[in-house]
């Protein structure tokens, strides 16, 4: 044993013990102070005879047998949670809800994992119900050895587990001209986050002899829409995965059972569901939705294509239009909580503004901070009754990106972009504690050369 090291360890252990005991002493001192108050005055409510039946009366669930363990052998949420669901709007429905989206209740989400039943669901030809025994993955094109795998064979490859969000690039896409949804679920819920298990595509390719002319990979679904997208080789050889596991169980059909592509941080539609084929070529495919949709039209008339990563973004989740402050009293300490995420890297910090993004203070990150993953953040606030606030959060990542203001983003990409909106978002706290979705933005005009400018400015 390295004596020196062990002494150091002991020393540090001793320090830890001391630190703990100081903390503990501190805690007890405070508690003792409270106890004195409790004894001197009284911390009990005056009417001791009465009381709330929730406490005074025996409950049925506290006295009678519960359900046998044989019931619900695949577990269900409490039936009291029946309002916690994905939701949809007919505005974004096409084809009897077969080319549609149902979005995640972020207001009811805790931590950084979305339960599988609440993971947002977007499909182009309905949710396919695939028999895994009959499903195959085929790899073809510019490879020396094309390959067919059964699902059982695919799962023999060494597995990788990663936690990543998936976001539809149309998240927030209805609000380029102004706020539309007084709802966190609809304003920001076109995304979810899960722990995925699968295989690196590069691990399968190692034995297949990818030819050097291969610059692009086609990923194609086996559903009726045969959704497909072109992925550049660099991503394929970096962190692209074929996943079958979602939060410790099989993918749900809504997420592409039995397998989907996962390109961490990139547009949800690139993570092709019900995946059945990978093809390699020297030129891109211009797939069905690759240019017709999922492109960002700028005021110049040029549209951005192959816009892969969802940029750095954040939102306040509590309070939100769904979680208001109407029950708070003057002076209450309340936690302002939110999510931050970036498809371009790891969140490095989040700032919070009380005046709509004019001035910021630093919020604290909390919990796990992982690359291309939801990150929780928090700020402790003292509620002042009747005080109006404009709560705006602003995240930054380790790639050097920070969320733009609405004006900064729109002066470049205009208001017809549809996709990839990541400007800061604002909730207004009203005098009564209700929360309203607002935006802080200038009015725009166009110069004769087409450039967008702030109204009234030369």
């Amino acid at each position: 044993m390295d004596i020196k090291k062990s002494q150091q360890d002991l020393q540090s252990t001793a320090n830890d013990v001391e630190r703990t005991s100081i903390d503990r002493r501190d805690f007890f001192r405070k508690t003792a102070a409270l106890s004195v108050t409790a004894l001197a005055g009284t911390s009990l409510l005056a009417s001791e005879q009465a009381g709330n039946p929730a406490i005074l009366k025996p409950t049925p669930w506290g006295t009678i047998w519960g359900d046998p363990v044989t019931k619900n052998i695949y577990g269900m949420p409490s039936k009291y949670e029946h309002n916690v669901t994905r939701r949809y709007t007919k505005l974004l429905a096409s084809g009897n809800f077969r080319a549609s989206i149902a979005v995640t209740p972020l207001q009811d989400s805790s931590g950084i994992i979305t339960p599988n039943g609440l993971f947002f669901s977007r499909c182009h030809g309905g949710v396919a119900q695939i028999d895994p025994n009959e499903h195959r993955l085929m790899i073809t094109g510019l490879v020396e050895k094309p390959l067919v795998l059964t699902m059982k064979q695919l799962k023999r490859y060494p597995s990788v587990t990663r936690t990543h969000f998936i976001e539809c690039p149309a998240n927030g896409g209805q609000e380029w001209r102004g706020p539309q949804y007084n709802s966190l679920q609809f304003a920001k819920g076109f995304m979810s986050c899960a722990e995925w298990t699968g295989v690196y595509i590069k691990d399968i390719l190692k034995d297949l002899g990818v030819k050097k002319e291969a610059l692009w990979m086609l990923a194609e679904g086996g559903d009726s829409s045969k959704m497909s997208r072109t992925v550049p080789m660099e991503k394929v050889l970096d962190d692209a995965m074929i996943v079958w596991g979602q939060n410790g169980e099989a993918l749900r059909p809504e997420q592409g059972y039995p397998i989907r592509l996962l390109v961490p941080g990139w547009e949800g539609n690139l993570c092709v569901k019900w995946l059945r084929r990978l093809d390699f070529a020297s030129e891109p495919w211009y797939c069905k939705e690759e240019t017709s949709k999922y492109t960002v039209l700028k005021p110049t008339g040029k549209a951005i294509q192959h816009f892969y990563a969802n940029e750095v973004n954040s939102t306040v989740t509590s309070p939100s239009p769904e979680i208001n402050w109407t029950d708070l009293k003057d002076g209450d300490l309340v936690e302002i909580e939110g999510l931050a995420w970036s498809g371009m890297g790891t969140i490095t910090g989040v700032d919070l503004s009380f005046d709509g993004g004019k001035n910021y203070v630093e919020a604290k990150l909390k919990g796990l901070v992982l690359p291309k993953c939801w990150t929780r953040w928090s700020y402790m606030h003292t509620y002042k009754e009747g005080q109006e606030l404009l709560l705006t959060s602003r995240a930054m990542d380790d790639a050097g990106d920070i969320q733009p203001t609405i004006d900064q983003e729109e002066l470049v990409v205009g208001v017809e972009a549809v996709y990839h909106r990541n400007a800061v978002e604002t909730w207004k706290v009203e005098k009564d504690g209700k929360i309203t979705h607002v935006q802080l933005r200038s009015q725009y005009e166009r110069k004769p050369n087409g450039e967008i400018m702030i109204e009234g400015k030369a």
């Binding site: 009897n96 009726s224 050097g400």
Partner: protein
């Protein structure tokens, strides 16, 4: 040997990365708005962790598992390969031979497409329009920005927006008709493409695709779409991936903002909004058509009303999209004459057609998952409203 090829590719990719980084760094130092950011960026403009000390970022890795060539599966047979190798590329790779005219396409369109895409591709029922008129004229609208409610926005339909005509061909072949994909022959697809080219007034080598123009593989590949060069970055050719990397290395190209990662304290903390920015509220109630309605109440779910099946509601959910409006090709609820044609053949026939679907475009049970009994009561409801 295979692995060597891969390695070579990896090296060429990273060499390209270094080159483009060098370029963007030069561009940035030449720019008056200097930036001190010097991070190695991925192709998407982001950064990612590399393997170090058996970890990638926060994740432990069994490096032994990823060093070896794991081999499972088998080669596809020729027949298997051909069955799935149906992708079509802009240079014509994968595009089969065949032909058709807009006239022929028109008949197929009326039978299989109108109910969703409307007359002449005008759109409807939540499905996209396929044409809004002359593609060359409408292409000019792409610089439009609807800054005020009364202004015209850009028209983004096939003719005016899509850069490649092969995308339309494979879209129809792969994914249309929407409820019943993979059922069209190659000639039918050529006919439908001709019909849509016609509706968009697209010219092939200066010749308009009129009703009798015979579209075939060769002629289709001669089409240059009006918006062929309307997209950035340029992804074509051997420099495609490098162009993408360069484009995303500069957040100014896509409206992004940066801060100095090495000195985050320098980011804006005061007066970060333009003084012209005002609080804007949701107008006219915004969008609040939410299903189910928002609620955070914790209670027991309400018992479903036990008075049976709601045919009207089922109609609204499953049928109204096509049967509520004219121009979708389907008989409109309330149109006595239109429905009389069908009911004259007997209700059994009407039920059977509805349940099994028809070639005229009625999907089986309208695409619903209603039981036969419930579906029949929806049919009864529609007929009762059309007498």
């Amino acid at each position: 040997m295979m692995f060597k090829l891969n390695k070579k590719l990896l090296i060429s990719v990273s060499a390209a990365a270094v080159l483009s980084l060098g370029l963007s760094a030069c561009m940035e130092s030449a720019s008056p708005e200097k930036s001190s950011i010097q991070i190695k960026k991925d192709i998407d403009g982001g950064v990612s962790d590399t393997l170090a000390n058996d970890k990638i970022g926060p994740y432990y890795v069994n490096t032994n598992a990823h060093k070896v060539d794991v081999k499972y599966g088998r080669a596809p047979t020729k027949a298997e390969y051909d069955a799935w190798n149906t992708d079509v590329m802009p240079d014509g790779t994968g595009l089969p031979k065949g032909q058709g005219t807009a006239d022929e396409g028109s008949d197929i369109y009326d039978a299989k497409c109108t109910m969703c895409h409307g007359d002449f591709g005008s759109g409807g029922g939540g499905y996209p329009a396929l044409s809004k008129g002359n593609a060359y004229d409408l292409h000019k609208t792409l610089t439009n920005q609807r800054l005020k409610p009364d202004e015209d926005g850009p028209v983004r339909v096939f003719g005016s927006y899509w850069p490649q005509v092969t995308t339309l061909w494979s879209y129809i072949k792969d994914a249309m008709p929407h409820p019943d994909t993979g059922t069209l022959t190659d000639d039918q697809v050529y006919s439908l493409v001709a019909f849509i080219l016609n509706a968009n007034e697209i010219k092939i080598k200066g010749v308009e695709v009129d009703d009798d123009y015979v579209l075939n593989r060769k002629r289709l590949l001669e089409i240059v779409m009006p918006n062929r060069h309307g997209f950035e970055p340029n992804i074509d050719g051997p420099n495609g991936p490098d162009n993408v990397r360069k484009f995303y290395a500069n957040p100014k190209n896509f409206g992004g903002q940066t801060y100095d990662v090495k000195n985050p304290a320098s980011r804006c903390m005061t007066n970060c909004q333009k003084p012209t920015a005002k609080v804007v509220y949701i107008q006219n109630g915004g969008i609040n058509d939410f299903h189910p309605p928002l609620s955070n109440v914790k209670d027991l779910p309400k018992k479903k009303a036990s008075h049976g099946f709601d045919a009207k509601k089922a109609y609204t959910t499953n049928c109204a999209m096509c049967h509520a409006t004219d121009g979708m090709g389907a008989p409109v609820m309330g149109d006595k004459a239109a429905w009389a044609v069908y009911t004259a053949k007997g209700m059994d026939k009407v039920y059977a057609n509805g349940i099994k679907g028809t070639n005229a475009g009625m999907p089986p049970k309208g695409g619903s998952d209603l039981s036969d009994t419930n579906f029949k009561s929806v049919v009864d409801y529609i007929i009762s409203k059309s007498k």
